[in-house]
């Protein structure tokens, strides 16, 4: 039987056993719900913030509607002007929360209009309507109201804020996925050792193949979960109009998936190799603490340093450090602050590192996985496998 078949059998077992487990399915459904609900929540809050609904007793003059729209438009908001026949219907509309405020024109053109609220006056509405009323009066008086032209020294990309959100959210997803699925590999290795089944398995499967199969099987689950989450997130975001997706979205997503694969394989292999040194789960957490810190360090580096200075020296160096690259490179890519050759070099360095990890880690795993008496030292495991 070929080694590939053995690896595939191990991977398939992980896929089936874990993919069917209630833990995986419940986790997937729960995170799905969280993503959708948070998107909807943000959307509803956002729409409430920026929309101004003003009632107008009588027929609103076109000058008022356009002036109000111009004022609100500066804040990316929308306006809605509702014509109301009289004060009684206006009060009713306020009561039913169909409008935020109602403008009552003065009895004569000289008399100032009144802005009516249900209870607490909404300062945004007061500001916008006041400005609109002033603008009409000033233009009637012949004052030129052409606003100053707005320019930036550094040209602003329309998609920038969206790219920022995508980068941030993407790296969070990436970190959580790498960490949680890496931890599955760790617990899988320890469980096999603890239940002693590993000796039966290793009677037919080479240790390195067992580790690879495990990493790949769980990795496929992780990839499925990440694709589903990112997919739902993007679809939900677009659907509720929360986010105008920048044109770089799909390259960004592809980059996230690529780096999930690399980062996951790197970290889960580290977890698996070190986990083999332990003989119980409690020991395993201790043994792998340095790896957890490494992963968290890379994440914090990404969101605190790289995010603020995506093409600075730290970011450039971190992109070539394999344990940091999976968090740093997709962040820089999402912000459009990385050259293609840098990405290629970073991928090459990380793949080489992973290969080395398989060779060195495979030997440690081989030496450690059959030793069931307590916690093993790295050096002893290395020597035990010959």
């Amino acid at each position: 039987m070929s080694r590939l078949r053995a690896i595939w059998l191990v991977a398939r077992r992980e896929l089936l056993e874990r993919g069917r487990s209630k833990g995986f399915l419940a986790g997937l459904v729960l995170t799905e719900i969280l993503v959708v609900v948070s998107m909807l929540l943000q959307a509803s809050l956002a729409s409430g913030e920026n929309a101004i609904r003003v009632g107008y007793v009588g027929e609103p003059p076109a000058s008022f509607v356009s002036a109000l729209r111009a004022v609100a438009g500066r804040d990316d908001g929308t306006t809605e002007v509702v014509a109301l026949p009289d004060r009684a219907t206006a009060e009713q509309a306020l009561e039913q929360d169909r409008v935020d405020g109602v403008l009552l024109p003065g009895a004569t053109p000289d008399q100032p209009p009144t802005l009516l609220f249900q209870e607490q006056p909404d300062s945004r509405v007061v500001g916008a309507v006041t400005e609109a009323v002033f603008a009409i009066r000033l233009s009637e008086a012949g004052v030129d109201l052409t606003p100053p032209a707005v320019e930036s020294v550094v040209p602003v990309d329309e998609g920038d804020s969206a790219a920022f959100v995508v980068a941030n959210v993407g790296v969070i997803f990436l970190f959580i996925s790498i960490f949680s699925f890496g931890y599955w590999v760790l617990s899988g290795v320890v469980e096999e050792k603890q239940s002693r089944v590993v000796e039966v398995v290793l009677a037919t499967v080479r240790p390195r193949d067992l580790l690879m199969g495990k990493v790949f099987g769980i990795g496929i689950l992780g990839l499925v979960q990440l694709v589903v989450l990112l997919g739902t997130g993007l679809v939900a975001a677009t659907a509720v109009g929360r986010l105008e997706l920048p044109p770089t979205t799909f390259p960004t997503v592809a980059m996230l998936l690529l780096w999930f694969v690399l980062g996951y394989v790197l970290y889960s292999t580290l977890f698996g190799v070190l986990g083999a040194l332990a003989s119980r789960m409690e020991e395993a957490s201790n043994v792998t603490t340095p790896v957890s810190f490494l992963a968290m360090g890379a994440y914090f580096l990404s969101i605190f340093v790289v995010l603020n200075d995506p093409d600075g020296l730290v970011a450039r160096i971190a992109s070539l450090v394999p344990p940091a690259a999976p968090m740093v490179v997709p962040m820089r890519a999402a912000l459009g602050a990385i050259e293609p050759w840098e990405v290629a070099l970073s991928v090459a360095v990380t793949v080489a590192f992973i290969y080395g990890l398989f060779v060195i880690g495979g030997r440690v795993y081989t030496g450690a996985v059959l030793q069931t008496r307590g916690r093993m030292r790295l050096r002893d495991a290395w020597r035990a496998a010959r």
Partner: protein, 306 residues
Amino acid sequence: MLEVRDLTKRYGSVVALDGASFSAPTGRLVGFLGPNGAGKTTTMRCIFGLATPDRGETRWRGRPIDQPARLRFGYMPEQRGLYPRMKVGEQLAYFAQHHGLSGRDARAAAARWLERLGLGDRSAAKLEELSHGNQQRVQLAVALVHEPELLVLDEPFSGLDPLGTATMIEVLRERAAAGVGVVFSSHQLDLVENICENVVIIAKGRIVAEGEIDQLKRSSGRRHLDVEVTGGDGAWIEGLGDNRVLERRGDRVRLLVEDTIDLPAALARASAAGTVRRFSFEPPALSELFMEAIREDEPVTEGTAR
């Protein structure tokens, strides 16, 4: 035939195997005996490539054992273990596939062996839901599910109730009769004496006795003399020559004697002392051969067994 040649393995300063060599024929049950720490498990691990010997090799059917050959072996390690939360039937099929069976053949073989071991209705149960005895049966099924050419079982009888023991014996005999090589370790020497034709005895990493049990018994220079004399005072034993009292119960005495003893003379002495109700002359039991074999072994100079 399984051959082990000059197997040597150290763990640090501990010598687990010290040039162990033996061969085990197929078609019969071979008991692999030795005190704890003698090197039984390490030998088995070397056969399955789970431990790499410092020196020496293992051979099957005249060729060095490699990974493809191992796929046709069945193994039951001393430390029992399967996936606790995996369904029994799927688990068996999984291991069968690792031994090279196709998915369909693996499922059929799994069902067949579960039926054979009386677990036909538990195929969909998780392993952890089974009783201890039934988990042991599944463990045996894992070793058998791919119809191996060679079965290597580490302490297969430990922890089995009489019913489980009977099933195990039946299955092992059946496999041996089918021409399979069956090697198993055990501390239950009486059981081994009853069911095995051959034994290999290991002590401190070296093979100290090997061959057919009957042959080993015959070639032993010692015999048991079991005599019951009523009315005597037991003093007749003096003057029998070189002997050692193994057991004395009432009028009955069991003696360890040389096989060159003058039996007619001994019987005459016993008859003179009283009425002889029993007088039997037998080769020693396997347990005595075992004790003898491991005592003769000189301690290895470097390190001690754990």
